[in-house]
């Protein structure tokens, strides 16, 4: 446990976060954008757990934050998929470029 420094966890979560950001910016399909969002949320969870383990091993706050983030991510994914299905019914497409009714 102690032979891996904290910075390696942080580099892992940073890399995962920016992989998610890359997917979020470059993808056009709404479902793949949602998948990138899940990667971003998971990188934050790794950060919370690593900080809890290394900086405050006597407390459990990072653990609880991770639990709540997972619960909120589940709610967010469910709502996002409901919106995607509704969009698909209207536009017959889930490409972000095709859904531009509100664009001026």
């Amino acid at each position: 446990m102690n032979e891996v420094p904290l910075s390696h966890f942080l580099i892992l979560s940073t890399a995962l976060f920016f992989i998610g950001v890359f997917g979020f910016l470059s993808r056009r399909n709404l479902v793949t954008i949602l998948m990138s969002l899940e990667l971003i949320l998971n990188s934050v969870n790794i950060n919370f757990i690593a900080f809890n383990q290394y900086l405050w091993p006597g407390k459990m706050d990072g653990l609880f934050f991770t639990l709540f983030i997972i619960a909120i991510a589940a709610a967010e994914a469910a709502v996002a998929i409901a919106i995607i299905l509704h969009l698909y019914r209207h536009y017959r497409s889930i490409d972000a470029e095709d859904v531009d009714t509100l664009r001026f």
Binding site: S7, G23, I49, M60, L63, F64, F68, L85, H86
Partner: protein
């Protein structure tokens, strides 16, 4: 390097490689499966750090719930065997530049920051302690966010039903 540290680096490599494949694959179903591998490897990292409860929650909620939901929505909205349209070249380049620049910036910051690592004895983090912490009303208790999350999940469930309902369906 000990065997334990090697496990950590192997799991990290699995997380990052499958995440990269997940955001770059042109086949959306493969992309979802790579996301699944990435999430399972993250659960492995939690197991490696002795956070068994978080690892179990990660496996149940993400792997058993969210990825299955994503695969369902792929089946409902995507024609079989059609690969995604190519991303725009310019947007791809700018996204890669922004991500790499952000990564370098953040890594430089966190390598320069002196974290005060606490090597004291690790407190017990059994299921019992987690349950007591979640429902405690005192200074270190999390009962208020716990209840708020339960209301949020109820609201999300009702919202999903309302949004995904067919607009002209007569059976409510």
């Amino acid at each position: 390097m000990s065997i334990s540290a090697m496990f950590f680096y192997a799991l990290s490599a699995a997380v990052l490689v499958s995440a990269v494949l997940s955001v770059t694959s042109r086949n959306i179903f493969r992309s979802a499966i790579f996301l699944l591998f990435s999430l399972i490897s993250i659960a492995g990292i939690y197991f490696w750090m002795n956070y068994e409860f978080i690892a179990a929650v990660q496996t149940i909620v993400y792997v058993g719930g969210i990825v299955v939901l994503i695969i369902f929505s792929i089946f409902l909205t995507q024609q079989a065997g059609v690969s995604l349209p190519a991303p725009m070249k310019g947007r791809m380049i700018y996204a890669a530049l922004a991500s790499i620049a952000g990564f370098v910036l953040v890594v430089m910051q966190l390598l320069a920051h002196p974290f005060k690592v606490d090597n004291s004895v690790v407190a017990s983090r059994g299921i019992k302690d987690i349950g007591h912490g979640l429902l405690e009303t005192g200074a270190n208790g999390y009962v208020l966010p716990f209840e708020l999350v339960s209301i949020l999940l109820l609201a999300a469930m009702i919202g999903c039903i309302v949004i995904a309902l067919k607009p002209n369906s007569t059976t409510a």
